[in-house]
Amino acid sequence: MDESVIQSKIEEIKVLAEKENINISKELDHLKAKYAPSSEDTWEKVLLARNIDRPNTLDYINLICDDFVELHGDRHFGDDPAMIGGIGTINGQAVTFIGHQRGHNMKENIERNYGWAYPEGYRKALRLAEQAEKFHRPVVTFIDTAGAYPGVNAEERGIGEAIAVNLKKFSVLKTPIISFIIGEGGSGGALGIGVSDKIYMLENSIYSVISPEGFASILLRDAERAKEAAEIMKVTAQDVDEFGIVHGIIPEVPGGAQIDPAFTAEEIKKTILKDLKALMSKTPNQLIRYRSKKIREIGHVNENNAKVQDLFGIFGKVFGRS
């Protein structure tokens, strides 16, 4: 069936339902999902990852947690609405949640600065991660940003330093960390809360070193060629998973997570519970060793017979032999 025909049918049903005062929005969503083009197209995935209706960090937290309290502020400068955090419970297990926060409309997005976090956002994230570490509470992060805020104020307050310190400290945090890239995973701003024991990408999320637009304007010398850039850069969940950089892909319903947020939330919840079962029994040293080793192995170099250092000697020195 032609897509425009389906669309007009859907509209017809909508009008009819309104007339009869029946709520059929759920059925409609599934109908839309069923006929939505299941996307193999990279650019469509980029657009889906950025879709304004796509569930955001607080949406997932509310769907996953029995209860949740938000905690605010970095204790140095202020509270960044583009980065949220707090404590929630999943089936009774306390978890610290941290994530970039985008809005679903213009007003919310202005409030949330479109999920572009400032240094104080990253410092709040670290404060909450270290608080979790203190109480051996696991940390779950939701990544959803085009990048850290590239503005004068962010530079003045040390956005580079804030991200750098997070990379360093998250990499040796003595409590489990699980990350989900739920939308756009853009550059250092994404990685700033993305160093973890387990990292997953949602089916229609992207992860990249620079935005396709940025890549196009710098390497292809034409910002208009972002579509092409996205292909070249290999930014989709499927690409990044193939590179072995993430631990798996979280499914979404056809057409994207915005059609059935509860479905994806349930998948995320199951993943968290499964991983926590394994991770919570590890000692801090085991966690850090595994995390460091995993990070250490990412990259492609031609060794030319160079001698590879024995990492475990160093881990032994840092953490003892346990």
Binding site: G160, V195, I210
Partner: protein, 287 residues
């Protein structure tokens, strides 16, 4: 290619493949003030413009020669070369060109040298090699350098010069930020110092990783140091940049570097730091 060679020797007819210090320096027009400078003067001034004081980018071997005791530097991991992990067309050619232009396998030189008799692991980046961008090789070499310090109980000194992550390696270059920062965390755990010398320019993913993780951060005068590129800030957000934005002096004022040290005094400053951290570098934290 030999993996070890000495640097800073007086013998200029050294048959090894190490180029003579400053061999690549030619008569130059200062980029900042357009003053014309003869090669001899430029070498004497350590590639600092005598007119306006602009600290020009340096070849890593030249910089190492200005920092370490003569003949004390032994390079390691020189053999590492880049692959093309996300199969970008033209990347191999670009690397070949860069190798020829910079006379290096990639954008950083790492090794062990001594300053006034005190050993340090030393990593020096090259802006001439693809803008000093950090891909898998730079990330791996910086990581090995830091872990070498951890393994041998030696302070680590890194001299940065980089436009950021190497886009041609996509997501793999982003991950080098995590890798180098993790290595810095392990060094930290052993109580071994990390000294960072920020030179013009240090931006993007290098700034947002190991370059900002020094126990002591030193900047050369007038160096551009920041995360986001100035064109990005100006262009995308239509924000006007304040005078001297992201320069060393700005970063000192904002509290992100400890001191600004002219090139001619860098060796003396590092020597002082190595001396004052001698006891700490034995790892008292882990005892």
């Amino acid at each position: 290619m030999s993996s070890e060679f000495n640097i800073g020797r007086k013998n200029k007819n050294n048959s090894s493949d190490f180029p003579n210090p400053f061999a690549r320096v030619t008569d130059t027009t200062c980029r900042e003030c357009h003053h014309k400078i003869k090669r001899e003067k430029l070498v004497e001034e350590l590639q600092v413009c005598p007119e306006c004081g602009f600290h020009m980018p340096m070849h890593p071997y030249d910089r190492i020669a200005t920092l370490v005791d003569e003949g004390s530097f032994t390079e390691f991991s020189q053999e590492l070369t880049s692959l093309n992990p996300i199969s970008i067309s033209g990347y191999e050619e670009k690397l070949t060109q860069a190798r020829g232009k910079a006379g290096l396998n990639d954008a950083v030189v790492t090794g062990i040298g001594s300053i006034d008799g005190r050993q340090t692991v030393l990593g020096v980046m090259s802006f001439q090699f693809m803008g000093g961008s950090m891909g898998s090789v730079v990330g791996e070499k910086i990581t090995r350098a830091i872990l070498k310090g951890a393994d041998e109980g030696l302070p680590v000194t890194l001299v940065t010069a980089s436009g950021g992550a190497r886009m041609q390696e996509g997501i793999f270059s982003l991950m080098q930020m995590a890798k180098t920062s993790n290595a810095a965390a392990l060094l930290d755990g052993l109580g071994i110092p990390l000294f960072i010398v920020l030179t013009h320019p240090t931006t993007g993913g290098v700034t947002a990783s190991f370059a900002m993780l020094g126990d002591v951060s030193i900047a050369e005068p007038g160096a551009l140091i920041g995360f986001a590129g100035q064109r990005v800030i100006e262009g995308t957000l239509k924000e006007k940049l304040p005078e001297g934005f992201q320069k060393s002096e700005f970063q000192l004022k904002k509290g992100f570097v400890d001191m600004i040290v002219p090139r001619a005094e860098m060796r003396k400053t590092l020597s002082f730091l190595l001396k004052t951290h001698e006891s700490e570098s034995k790892g008292w934290m882990s005892r």
